[in-house]
């Protein structure tokens, strides 16, 4: 077995067999699924409570407007005075009392409706009540003005913009949402991966320095091989952990759903469905979702995802390794972390604000060529259709920079791993490049 393989194997096994690593691999998905289950369970618990609201309608106009459902029951009170009704509702322990006075004009009436309750009432319940009253009052006003509400309703026009590219490709708001989801997921995944496993590489370099084994190792192998082996081995361990997470989250969700009858995914799905419905307005959701999904440039997405992921990750990983080599302990890494974290965070912000606003705006375009931000920003842009030459140019710039950072990191690494007890400054690092 050659040196590089040996090093990769050791780094990989050492990470994978590490107790903390194993615990985190199993615990993280368990915690995630657990939290979703808990939230789902709690919100269900919350909704289970049935509220009763008494309505004292002196105006007599709204008696038909309140529709009870399983969580909220409206109870009409007739022929009682307000004070008396208040007392009886308070005594009964009901949620509250809605009082609609009798007024000359609807405008005055709208100003004088009161809701009595023990505590502050839920805003959602209030909204429902206000909507119901407003609807009725509006149509009453229309009748007053001599108009037929049904006719008005018929005359109302709903606008639903059809989207089509100049190339004649039909798109929809749903597909925009889908693209955002894809791009955002890819960018965010890369961001998380860099931070988690970049740190792991850095710590492993520091460990070799503090345990003083480094000089023994590099009397057998070239530092560049050790650096590459470390990055590749740790990354493979990272991929393993990521895959394990995906599988475990699936299994745990399935098990929990089977045992408790709660679907932790249901909430998100429902939310997503509602959002999508709000966007597209109508139609067979699942079918439309699938057609839109297959309309995405899938092959392009997958290839570019791999290229940008590998290039971006390796570039940042080599920087983390260089930092590890430049310091003596993890506490000294702070001053060097900023230049790594800044562009990363910037990339995510640019991605989530600018790209969503305008995927092909100047800012989005510029940031998708700067190598430090391009992996995240370009991955977010690609689902919206980026010209191939832009994608290729960006990849070329990224890989050229990657080679540059590896060279730079190898230089720092070669000198840094043999420097003990010296707190490196930026000035010092530049000097090391000349050794």
């Amino acid at each position: 077995m050659n040196h590089l393989q040996l090093i990769i194997k050791r780094e990989y096994l050492n990470k994978v067999k590490n107790r903390a690593f194993i615990i985190m691999t199993f615990l993280s998905p368990l915690i995630m699924v657990g939290i979703f289950t808990l939230v789902a369970y709690l919100s269900q618990l919350n909704n289970d409570k049935v509220r009763t609201i008494s309505v004292l309608d002196e105006s007599g106009m709204f008696s038909d407007e309140f529709e009870s459902d399983e969580n909220l029951i409206y109870k009409m009170i007739v022929g009682t005075q307000l004070e008396e009704a208040k007392k009886s509702v308070e005594a009964s322990g009901d949620y509250g009392l809605l009082y609609i006075p009798k007024m000359e004009s609807l405008d005055d009436l709208a100003e004088n409706i009161t809701f009595y309750s023990e505590d502050s009432p839920s805003l959602i319940v209030l909204d429902d009540i206000e909507d119901a009253i407003a609807d009725k009052a509006n149509s009453l006003k229309l009748v007053d003005a001599g108009l037929d509400p049904a006719q008005i309703d018929q005359l109302r026009i709903r606008v639903d913009t059809k989207l089509e590219t100049f190339g004649g490709e039909k798109t929809s708001k749903l597909s925009t949402g889908l693209k955002l989801g894809f791009g955002g997921l890819a960018g965010y995944l890369l961001f998380m991966f860099i931070i988690i496993y970049g740190n792991m590489i850095m710590r492993s370099v520091i460990e070799e320095k503090t345990s003083r084994i480094i000089e023994v190792i590099i009397s057998s192998v070239k530092p560049i091989k050790l650096l590459l082996g470390k990055i590749i081995g740790t990354s493979l361990a990272g991929v393993t952990q990521f895959l394990a997470w995906v599988i475990l989250i699936g299994i745990f969700s399935f098990v929990i759903a089977a045992i408790f009858g709660i679907d932790p995914g249901a909430m998100q799905q429902q939310e997503a469905l509602e959002q999508a419905q709000a966007l597209s307005g109508k139609g067979d959701m699942v079918q439309e979702f699938m057609t839109e999904f297959f309309k995405l440039p899938l092959l392009n997405l997958v290839i570019m995802f791999i290229l940008f992921f590998v290039g971006g990750y390796l570039m940042y990983a080599s920087m983390y390794a260089a930092i590890g080599a430049a310091v003596d302990s993890e506490t000294d890494t702070q001053q060097f972390m900023l230049p790594i974290l800044m562009p990363l965070i910037l990339a995510v912000y640019v991605g989530f604000f600018t790209v969503i606003d305008n995927p092909h705006g100047t800012v989005s375009q510029v940031f998708s060529f700067i190598p430090l931000t391009s992996p995240v920003v370009m991955l977010m842009r690609i689902p919206f259709g980026v010209p191939l030459w832009q994608q290729i140019l960006s990849v070329v710039i990224l890989f050229a920079t990657f080679i540059g950072t590896v060279w730079f990191a190898a230089k720092i690494y070669r000198v840094g791993i043999l420097m003990y007890g010296k707190k490196a400054s930026y000035k010092e690092l530049i000097k090391w490049l000349k050794y």
């Binding site: 077995m1 040196h3 040996l6 090093i7 050791r10 050492n14 590490n18 460990e207 070799e208 345990s211 003083r212 084994i213 000089e215 023994v216 190792i217 590099i218 009397s219 057998s220 192998v221 070239k222 043999l418 003990y420 000097k431 000349k434 050794y435």
Partner: protein
Amino acid sequence: MDNLLVATNVSKSFGEFRALNDVSISVPRGSVFGLLGPNGAGKTTFIRIINQITMPDTGTVFLDGEALKPDDIRHIGYLPEERGLYKSMKVGEQALYLSQLKGLSKQEAKKRLKYWFDRLEIGDWWNKKIQELSKGMAQKIQFVVTVLHEPKLLIFDEPFSGFDPINANLIKDEILRLRDNGATVIFSTHRMESVEEMCDHIALIHESNKILDGKLLDIKRAYRSNTYEVGLIAEDHTAVENSLKEHFKLLPSDFKTINDEFQRNIRIPESASANDLVNFLTQKGQLTHFVEVVPSANDIFIQTVQNN
């Protein structure tokens, strides 16, 4: 003479700092070669150049008559001064990994490790993690890993630091045994008593320059000062002293003795011989002690460094 390692005109600078200045050293095959020098003299830089960890700016290092090439690492075993092992790895796994990096096959490494672990009576450590071992125990493993691939050149940088006297002795005997079996040893240390015990040749590096090298015995001869430790039982010490002063240079002396006697270090001038001094002394009283003062490695080290 047959040299295993020859370095010619090696120089190395780090930025403005010149770590080695035109250093040439020859290490005879089968010798224990002491590489001496004060802290920061450039010893470690020189050793790292031999190990190809650092490249020299100018000059060449030859191993067995050929310029060093990457593949030569398998012929060199290096125990650095700053040494350690992966703390969370098991002893056996780690030893296997490090020997495989030196080019041994897994089977061969296992066989040799078993031999060495039995020899040093550490066989039952195989499945322990380094963090469970004491520093001395870890050093033993480190030693085994250094010599396991049977290199023809062994380089030890302060090999005895961290060992108790018993284990230090054990390691010393192992090093000498390896030399007897044909290995050449470069040995860098500050501990002059181990230089006296072990080294056949030495080189002294001071402020990036080699200021002395050669056979230890030859160097000692060169540094002899024709001085003798003398003990003499005589009635009148003052009279003896005064008459000696006319012919020789007298220096104070402090060797241990059971007699109440006249004690001096006496330096003979070039023109005279030891016999002249003995004849002179026997006329003055009863001679009880007569030893040539041989310069110790320590004396040579201090004297040479101070003179430079």
